[in-house]
Point group: C2
Chain length 427, copies 2
């Protein structure tokens, strides 16, 4: 009476109770930020600022927050893409973490949003301010703020704000205040709107606006959904769960694959396994799937700002330049000039590979359709890159005959992104 394994569950009582901080295990110390830290010190949530520079290996998830993690559907299941394996005729085993479909806001972003909101509320704040690109982070922050009893203000890259009407309504339903960025609400925004009233915006610009807004309100904090160490820290719950789930069926990944913009979902699934590689010399490979619109891991490794205006301190990271123009893609969450300092360091040391897919996005949407047709689930455009890279890996295994274990993250669902599928695949 054996059953095919298609889903590996993790009982609620086995949910990880600490996040994994890779900083003390890095092959060399992380370069400190450069420049004026005073703005960031002022607008960041204190607990997050502490976590940003912590040298503790494990940081406990407060019990109250563990309960909220349960509330938002954690632990999330790990699936085996058995139909997809069969279609590809690959000897590889393909496992994917369903972060998107099992999240209230549709992506992994809620994992850190709710942690930051929790700490912000505990600190006595009243409002959280942020930026968003694809909209997944803005939605997550809106939800997290609402659940914890805070207000939320979201600056949303105008090029995306304009067409993602349903997602905009979703944020408003959570009670958030949502601005198209550049907006008339800040100095940065007004300046850019003067140059071009239809300025499409960028993540870097939206960050500048949010920081400016938060700096003027001492009951507000500015929160980020990617790049920074504490954000990746919170996201490690993804990889920690995956490791437990794979252990329960006697598996360990040979390849870990995910899409990468700023690095939060990639870091989330990869860092616990990267830690294993650093500590034990395991041979696991790590593949970051990017867009040719913003292949930041193929940029320069140097100090650069996280935002457009240069309000933030400069971080040592792979960057395309903080004022770089990047063509629009449906996978807008990947359209960011820089990569997380932790992941950049690991990339620089040779631990992370990268692949970038063409701007027309045909390949990635076709891959997502194949995945949907076999497994049933609809990936977000960003997650379609992850699926494409996982398929590439599985096909390479077919060539080589290797029975590898491929682990990939489907970080978001695509229910609110049908427009991209429609246009690229001509539905």
């Amino acid at each position: 009476m054996t059953r095919d394994i298609r889903q590996v569950s993790l009982p609620v009582r086995d949910m990880p109770t600490s996040w994994y901080n890779i900083i003390p295990d890095l092959p060399e110390p992380l370069s400190a930020p450069e420049g004026d830290m005073s703005a960031m010190g002022k607008v960041m949530i204190k607990e997050c600022l502490d976590q940003e520079f912590s040298s503790e290996n494990w940081i406990e998830i407060p019990e109250e927050l563990q309960a909220i993690y349960q509330q938002i559907g954690r632990p999330r299941p790990l699936f085996r893409a058995a139909n997809l394996e069969k279609l590809l005729d690959t000897p590889a085993e393909m496992y994917y973490k369903a972060e998107g479909l099992f999240s209230p806001t549709g992506s992994h972003k809620i994992n850190t949003a709710i942690a930051q909101a929790y700490y912000g509320k505990r600190q006595g704040l009243e409002r959280l301010v942020t930026e968003t690109g694809a909209g997944q982070w803005g939605t997550a922050l809106s939800c997290a703020a609402r659940i914890t009893g805070l207000e939320a203000t979201v600056y949303w890259v105008r090029a995306v704000y304009k067409w993602k009407e349903a997602r905009r309504d979703f944020m408003k339903l959570y009670g958030a205040e949502v601005f198209a960025s550049p907006s008339g609400n800040t100095e940065t925004g007004r300046k850019l709107l003067n140059e071009d009233a239809e300025h499409p915006g960028s993540l870097a610009i939206a960050i500048s606006e949010g920081l400016e807004d938060a700096l003027l309100d001492n009951k507000a904090a500015y929160v980020l959904g990617s790049v920074l160490n504490h954000v990746l820290l919170h996201q490690t719950i993804i990889g920690l769960e995956c490791r437990k789930q794979l252990e329960s069926i006697d598996r360990y990944p040979d390849v870990v694959v995910s899409c990468l913009g700023g690095g939060s979902n990639f870091g989330g699934i990869a860092l616990p396994f990267l830690g294993d590689v650093l500590k034990s010399g395991r041979k696991t490979r790590f593949v970051a799937a990017q867009t040719e619109a913003a292949p930041n891991l193929q940029g320069e490794y140097r100090y650069d700002n996280a935002d457009y205006s240069g309000i933030t301190p400069r971080l040592k990271m792979y960057t395309l330049g903080h004022q770089k123009d990047m063509p629009p893609v449906f996978g807008d969450g990947l359209r960011y000039h820089g990569c997380s300092p932790i992941l950049s360091l690991l990339r620089n040391k040779g631990y992370i590979e990268t692949v970038a897919y063409p701007i027309d996005e045909k390949r990635v949407f076709e891959s997502a359709r194949t995945f949907l047709s076999e497994e049933g689930f609809l990936p977000a455009p960003e997650s379609a890159y992850s699926v494409a890279a996982a398929i590439d890996e599985a096909e390479a295994c077919k060539e080589s005959g290797e029975r590898k274990v491929i682990l990939f993250n489907v970080s978001g669902h695509g229910f609110m992104d049908m427009e991209g599928y429609k246009r690229v695949l001509h539905l």
Copy 2:
């Protein structure tokens, strides 16, 4: 070190392996269908037809299908709506099953769609034909057909087809052929279009069209997503899981609440507990949440057709009349003239209560917003009725001081239904 219980998981290995068939436990025999059965005998999947009239109490879920249930995210978690309880200041405990958010197509409909597709494929069919109202059933059937390697044709009530563009694209992405109903593809459709080229359609009309189509193709079957016994049978996996989950925390529901159109999600969560009531004399109450646009449980209990043209045999059920005009509502999945014969009999014997909410849907969308604000999850418009009725029950407990256990079903998510929220709540 006690943790708040916010989520009750069920390990994959504990997923129910049989469906519960209430027919042998009913207080009196179910009245047989009346009229010509030849059309139904011809177009229905044989295994489903057998199950329709089975007198076995338990029907085994084939192992291969159990694996597919895993693939589509079963078992699904049960959540405790602790924040909502606190807001309502109720002594009641509120538990909800998350059928929508954890389903690849967004609702409970996939539970029977995949079972029917599985049996259809095994029988050697090539195509499944169906109708859809809100679109959840059509999407589920499209997904199920694609996963099992069948074609799908969907007749979709025109009034809904027109504005749910994203859901339409979603069905097409699964490879389904989708018609606005009435369509030019059938005799029934052409006749109605001649009378009114912009005819808004209805579920009953769409069923007639689908039946006509399937009758002309001996490699096709017509499949239904509600009303019939075998559909409710497949959906009992919802209630069977809930019962195990509640047992694991020493709870049993005092009230089971869900929305009701044809009865599939209501039956799915309620029938296992209704069986307990019939067999053991437990006092659990069952509340069906309906729309005043189609309060079929307040109609007449008599024989009537399931479709508009009278192709189907007549079923003994609560009905508003099979050619009844019903005003449009966003919770379109509830806009059907008749209720499942099994549930109708139980209603007639006094086991099921009903509440109908006004056509303007303000109350139900406000309830859904309250639920979203506290719990984070976005219900489908239909499920908003379930939420509203659960809140009513919790508020009654506040009045009476009773610490009841309320179990309700959030049968679908609302990611593709923001338009309803936007218009009714003026976002």
